[in-house]
Amino acid sequence: MHTYTFGQSDEQAMIRDTCARMLRPFESRHQEFERSLAQEGRVPEEFWQAMTEAGLLGAFIPEAYGGTAMGLTAGATACDAMASKGFGHPLYLLTSMDALCIANAGSDAVKDKFLPKIATGEIKMAFAITEANAGTNSFRMTTRAKRAGDHFVLDGEKTFITGIDQSDYVMVIARTRSRDEIKSAGLPKTACLSVFVVDSHAPGVELTPLPMRAIEGARQFTVHFDAVKVPLENLVGEEHAGGAVMFSTLNPERILIAAGACGQTEYLLDRAIDYAGQRVVFGEKPIGAYQAIQHPLADLRIRIEAARGLTYKAAAAYDAKVDAAETGMYANMAKYLSTDLAIDAADRAIQTHGGAGFSEDIGVIGYWERTRLMRTAPISKEMILNYVGEHILGLPRSY
């Protein structure tokens, strides 16, 4: 497929090529790769090493810390390119977001400590914000971090934490003052959150696996923090000012998710085209000649173009440091368009394959759950419509 999108630079084309070349040794073993995601709940380590050698982990890290600082357009291009060949790594997204957060908001000490190791692929990171009673509304979180001499003490519980078992560190958003204290002090609900890098294996960190579906290559956990000691220098940004730090990672996350969804759509479409072009059921013509098969695929092709256009516009806005409100608008819209597109692509790829679409060997059925997850997380489709209604259209808030 031609992957030219409006404004695609030669450099993006090179990044796509780099990813395609990096993936080549894995492509011949695609089924085996997929099986290890499903059975072992993790991506083979050699895939992480290949991503590291290609320099993908350094895209958000300044040169002084061993990265390239090539930015979100580069990172999104990589996500898109990998997904378009049927590959990805959940901890790539998480570690990238954490790196971006540290690079944007961290002190020299926290940058020195973590960024070079992220760039070289030495450490993987998870991200912990969600709590049982604080999902879409993060401000209801209750996990507490209290300063105690030369460290913080972390207590609480986070849930739906992806891949923490594979991670070396986890970025945790916690309260540095309780909700009651904030309320009685008349502070806004966004106040007094703080962001920490926590050793995933520190004493007091306990994991309970969750029986979840849809994220391939990583398991999910409820994470209990019981008097976990966190060194002072692991604070990212100012104490109590973590709300802004946290928000600054949400747009890039949405853009990376959107880019991955565009890539997944391309992958599913390619699979459907291959099958539709070969499969003969009646007479001589392959099923791809039938408009009931062909038109839904043509429609996907049109929408990929639109979704990529918006996704890379959002990435370009972020890289150009356009104000957060405008970047946020594009980021949300891109996530909305791309993830719905990917769901349709999974549905149509399955339908094109007929009964074979449900075979694990064919490998499109797994995308049914994978793509559907993105309508719910990291932000639901409805919350994006709320955002657009309220902030772009200027209509009253419903909730």
């Binding site: 090179m14 090529d17 780099t18 290609a54 350094g58 040169e63 580069a74 990589a78």
Partner: protein
């Protein structure tokens, strides 16, 4: 040592090629362009020499349209030091060899590595012509290159009909790369970033004062005849029977 490596912009070998209806060339719309794979092997070999021999410089050369910048940038992202793009319309092999010979006068490299041929027209001629124009020794179809410790001579193992042949000759010389010489690296993101700042000099071919009048013209191009689909047989017996009765080969 200074190594000059050629980088030609060619259609991606995975692209399906269509010949223009009037037979004057191929349809270039919607084609993905890449570095000639044999040249890419040449770049890799030059980079490996550079990694071994301190103070080496790898200079890339392409001849063609301004868009060949993309392929030079790819070579720079792999790790080459700088690049020269000679802006010219399609040249025939002798024209290319003459342009390169002129650049060699200016650049004075110790070694020239190029792909044994470009996968677009498969001429397999420029390396040999260039060596002749320069009066330099040549080692074509190299599957292994070893330099002496003082880098004054090269030993080149060539893939020839019926086996391997090893030649040794003093440098400077011309070596053309065959498929099995190495497995080229790909550009990493840090490589791509560093390539932004590397020199890419453009020279209009007219400025070189070289006679590039074509000796070869393409009169007509046509696609190879399409082959009929094969037949899938159910058993070995049927296969043997068909080979005997239909194909009449056994």
């Amino acid at each position: 040592m200074k190594i000059l490596v050629t980088v030609k912009r060619v259609p991606d070998p995975e692209t399906s090629i269509k010949v223009k209806p009037d037979g004057t060339g191929i349809v270039t719309d919607n084609i993905k362009w890449v570095v000639n794979p044999f040249d890419e092997i040449g770049v890799e070999e030059a980079l490996r020499i550079k990694e071994k021999v301190a103070g080496s410089e790898v200079v890339l050369v392409s001849i063609g349209d301004k868009v060949a910048q993309e392929q030079l940038r790819t070579g720079l992202a792999m790790g080459a030091d700088r690049a020269i793009l000679v802006l010219a319309d399609d040249l025939d092999p002798l024209g290319v060899a003459r342009v390169l010979a002129k650049l060699v006068d200016d650049e004075k490299p110790d070694l020239i590595i190029m792909g044994k041929q470009a996968i677009d027209d498969d001429s397999n001629a420029v390396g040999q012509m260039l060596a002749e124009l320069l009066g330099w020794p040549q080692g074509t179809f190299a599957s292994q290159i070893e330099l002496s410790d003082d880098q004054k001579s090269a030993s080149v193992t060539r893939e020839v009909d019926g086996g391997l042949e090893t030649l040794s000759f003093p440098l400077p010389g011309v070596i053309t790369a065959d498929l099995r010489l190495n497995e080229p690296r790909y550009a990493s993101l840090p490589g791509i970033m560093k390539a932004r700042k590397k020199e890419l000099k453009e020279i209009p071919v007219a400025d070189l004062g070289v006679d590039v009048t074509p000796r070869v013209t393409i009169t007509k191009m046509e696609p190879p005849p399409s082959r009929e689909a094969g037949k899938i047989v159910a058993s070995v017996e049927e296969l043997v029977n068909l080979l005997h009765t239909e194909a009449k080969v056994i």
